[in-house]
Amino acid sequence: MSQGGGVLSDALLVARKDLLLERRAKIGLGQVLPFAILVLLLFAFALDPDRGILKLATPGLFWVTVLFSAVLTLQRSFALEAEDGILEALRLSGMSPAGIYLGKVTALTIELLLLEAVLVLGVAVLYDTKFLGIPLLFAIALLATLGIAGAGAVYGALAARLRSRETLLPLLLLPLLAPVLIAATRGCEVSLEREAMSGWPWAALLGIFALVYLTLGSFLFRPLLEDA
């Protein structure tokens, strides 16, 4: 049983494993990213781009796209573990559950941030968005993504071994992430100067959300791995 600095080194180990798997399999790059861009196109078809609705709704559409893509990324991330009893193997490996959890969260956060970076380009090109307030935008993207990954990893692990996981995960996760969607969207609107108020309270709310779920997840992952 690893002790002391073990949690962090376990987390790094798991994160590296996940990122390596992604680099080799390229599911995120080859399937989730095209899906996300497709959603951006679908929104443009649904909301006439000539009437300015698309431009007005850009931050919301961006984050809805991120949420849908996050569900897919999570499915993938935990489908890896659920097959061939790998979750049991992880449990038996002696790594701390909190370390495994934080590792999954780290890998997910990195994957999602990369996805968001490409999506931002997509939005800039397709929806003709001009970005202002860059520091706020960065803070919001980072904190929102940590929150999504933190809450998502708990429910991703919980749903992983269920046969109905494809339908269950969005039902469980998306209502939980409603405050993230609200805060991230509003914060981005501020940074795009659509709303004349400070955007930092939104970033703070996202930070609290992320902190709460990272703490909760670190504690809940032990019973989750052992019994659920």
């Binding site: 809450a151 708990v154 429910y155 919980l158 269920l162 109905s164 269950l168 039902l171 469980l172 209502p175 939980l176 409603a178 405050p179 609200i182 805060a183 509003r186 108020m197 309270p201 939104w202 709310l205 609290i208 959300f209 709460v212 909760l216 809940l220 019973p223 989750l224 052992e226 019994d227 659920a228």
Partner: protein
Amino acid sequence: MTTTKTQSASNLSPAPTGTGSRGTRVLGGFALVFLVIAVAYGLFISPADAQLGNTIRIIYMHVPTVMAAYMAFIITAVSSGMYLWKRTEFWDLLGSSGAEIGVLFFAVTIVDGALWGKVTWGVFWRWEPRLTTSAVLLIMYIGYLAVRAIPADPRTRATRCAIIGIVAIVNVPIVHKAVDWWRGLHQGKTVLGTIDPEMGGTQLFAMYSALIAGLLVCVWLLIHRFRAGFLAERASDLGLDQALEERRLESSPATGEDA
């Protein structure tokens, strides 16, 4: 009477035959009395409100149902935490009973709230903080029930549900804050869901008797649901024992050990 006495301790006794007991019958009686009082005062005796008119009669129902739902959800949250600590069937069953009754009362709350909105605002739904939070909350607990309904061994299922119960309740203040800020800039608070301090005597009486009735009905349902859940577990144990016994009998009667 002696049989009902043993039934009231049915949580522990091995073979309870029903979900009723003297305790629940007394509780149910009280609930019924308060319901009758609440209906009489709420619908007939108390006057219409000066500002809200007759729609205040919806609020006599709305406040109790939302209070009962919150009570049930808090019971679920506490039970979820206790389950992860104690790992006993009691906390698991209490938690899932709370979620089920909570969803029931919450759905009723949203429906009667929407009816009130239609009369008062002219629309069933407004993106008002409390309504929006409620909608998100209801769906979170429907997710809990969805997981509950998936067959699994009792310990696995109980752990999954306990985790969802904890995560859901922690999310409530965050959702509320987000939605509050989101809509807070655009409109003021609504009267719906608050007890107006200027309510007159019979109105206040109607409100409080409805509140007591609502909470009593909720507790009464909760106890019955808990016991029904307990009996269902015993029934499935029994089914398993029977199946095991049958398989044993199928094997060679001489050794009785070959499977």
